[in-house]
């Protein structure tokens, strides 16, 4: 039998391609990354480079193992993005094996074992972060206070190598705590919230991000900038970030109204931890989030709810990674139940009822 396979339309297509999408997301992350490197010095640069290079290495290794075409897969840029995202969520002075091991876990266990790009049920970067947090709680919660490049406190090149590769302990003068961690500890010690907050929290400072924290999560404003760029470029939909941020703000506001001495307000929640990074760069990961608008709204709201619950009543000061993974697991279910209504059919798939003709018929216009 002759199999004739002509090409079907459309014959012209949108120029957007996967590599350019990934490149734009990476571009949107550049300001926050550069700020993180500036803020935490050369060890942070080491962490970023280690993550990105090892992401490419592990991706390439897996691709070669199954004998796929190396160039085609590496060129899609998804490995670089995963590596970068993981780096941004790590403590800036993380030892090299945290960066490399975490990236390896993200790429191999988080993505390639499922078949590569598009097949993974969980966000690889978040999966690796949670795995690291559970396996190496000490290293993953050792924060440093900002020591900007070229400042006297900043480690020089040789020191940075020692910090990254030799596991030099963070000097006491530089050890810091994240806002979320500090406030949680203070609350646990029985301090009232206003005192706990008053000591550490200023909305402007959090916005700029001159504070201890994960490598690229501190600067809320720069992340917001990157997110707006993605929205403007039509790389992401507004549904997930808006629903996530709005739900989180609403929850914080409601509880703050109920008891201002125990519950922090919306600004505190929105500007701390991984919220901004998650809203625009993690939750919007297309592979692991729902594909429909309604599903995305639900997904964002669900994440916000989980984040708020974990932060407020859970054991960990920050819950974004857990929340994302839990909602990732729900994504197939959300996709199954939140389908768009088909044209000419009701939500249940039955044909629409015929509208009454009298109601539809317009008045006569003009002479024939």
């Amino acid at each position: 039998m002759i199999v004739i396979t002509p090409q079907a339309g459309p014959h012209v297509r949108n120029p957007g391609k996967v590599p350019s999408l990934m490149a734009k997301v990476v571009l949107a992350l550049v300001p926050a990354t550069l700020f993180g490197i500036y803020l935490f010095g050369l060890p942070a640069l080491n962490t970023v480079l280690l993550c990105v290079v090892s992401a490419l290495f592990f991706e390439g290794l897996c691709v070669r193992l199954v004998n796929k075409r190396l160039g085609l897969v590496l060129a899609d840029g998804s490995a670089v993005l995963t590596g970068l995202l993981l780096a941004l969520t790590l403590p800036p002075w993380a030892p090299w094996w945290i960066a490399v091991g975490g990236t390896g876990f993200a790429i191999v266990v988080g993505k390639q074992v499922y078949g590569g790009l598009g097949q993974n049920p969980f966000n690889p970067a978040m999966l690796a972060r949670v795995a690291l947090l559970l396996a190496f709680p000490l290293q993953m919660t050792t924060w440093v206070a900002p020591a900007p490049l070229f400042s006297p406190a900043a480690p020089d090149f040789a020191q940075s190598l020692t910090i990254t590769f030799n596991g030099a302990a963070v000097p006491d003068s530089l050890s810091g705590a994240t806002l979320l961690g500090q406030v949680k500890t203070d609350l646990d010690r029985g301090l009232a919230l206003p005192q706990a907050l008053g000591a550490h929290f200023s909305p402007l400072g959090q916005g700029i991000g001159y504070a201890a924290g994960s490598l690229g999560e501190t600067s809320t404003l720069l992340l917001l900038l990157g997110g707006l760029y993605l929205l403007w470029q039509n790389i992401i939909n507004w549904h997930t970030p808006v629903s996530f941020l709005a739900t989180l703000a609403l929850l914080a506001w409601v509880f703050q109204q109920l008891d201002p001495t125990s519950y922090a307000g919306p600004l505190y929640h929105l500007s701390s931890g991984a919220v901004m990074l998650a809203a625009f760069f993690i939750l919007t990961d297309p592979v692991t989030s729902p594909a429909t608008r309604a599903g995305q709204l639900l997904f964002g709201a669900g994440c916000a709810l989980l984040v708020y619950i974990i932060r407020t009543w859970g054991g960990y000061p920050e819950g974004v990674a857990f929340a994302v993974l839990l909602m990732n697991a729900l994504t197939p279910l959300v996709d199954h139940y939140f389908k768009p209504r088909q044209y000419g059919r009701t939500r249940r798939g039955k044909p629409l009822p015929l509208p009454p003709l009298e109601k539809m018929a317009p008045s006569r216009r003009g002479r024939p």
Partner: protein, 190 residues
């Protein structure tokens, strides 16, 4: 520790014994599946599957000794339905590459008008009269080949249906090969 292991083992053993006793002692009913499969088959009794008739083929299908695509007159449609009823996977992924169905065609020069073929056609798809040229009605022909065997002059053949504008269909888009070198797609993973 030991007690819990023992308890679990005992529970498992007990339940297993109960199950095997039930399967031996309780009467099993007549297999309704054979009747269901028989109803699916075309009932032409053409015997092309190698069984005496459709009922025997149905029994063989149910006990698993016959392949799903055993019925040429039924074609892929029946193979698919059988796969569904019997809950067995189709050996070949459905159409796309499946050949167009074959139909019988009379070769005019060789037909002597013996009417043997029309008597043997299970769907009365051949028309003709003694000493007259016979003709196959394409709509009714199932391509079972019963006529081919009885023709004394080899004057009837099975021929693949031609592809026309009416029966042409889009085939499956070629899958991009993500693998390197001369490997067949999928081989690298196997």
């Amino acid at each position: 520790m030991l007690i819990s292991i023992l308890t679990l083992t005992l529970i498992g053993l007990g339940l297993g014994l109960l199950l095997s006793a039930a399967s031996r002692l309780l009467p099993s009913r007549e297999d309704p599946l054979v009747a269901k499969v028989n109803a699916l088959l075309p009932g032409t009794q053409c015997g092309q599957c190698g069984y005496a008739g459709c009922a025997q083929a149905a029994a063989a299908l149910v006990d698993g000794s016959a392949p799903l695509n055993l019925c040429p007159p039924g074609g892929p449609a029946i193979a698919r339905q059988l796969a569904q009823v019997l809950e067995r996977p189709l050996a070949q992924p459905t159409p796309g590459g499946l050949a167009m169905p074959s139909l019988a065609r009379v070769i005019a020069e060789q037909c002597i008008g013996c009417t043997k073929c029309l008597q043997n056609c299970p769907t009365d798809a051949i028309v003709g009269a003694p000493k007259q040229l016979h003709m196959v009605l394409e709509k009714a022909c199932t391509g079972c080949g019963a006529c081919v065997e009885v023709c004394p002059t080899e004057g009837i053949q099975l021929q693949q249906q031609a592809i026309t504008l009416g029966n042409w269909r889009w085939s499956k888009p070629p899958r991009p090969n993500p693998f390197r070198g001369p490997l067949c797609p999928g081989e690298g993973l196997a």
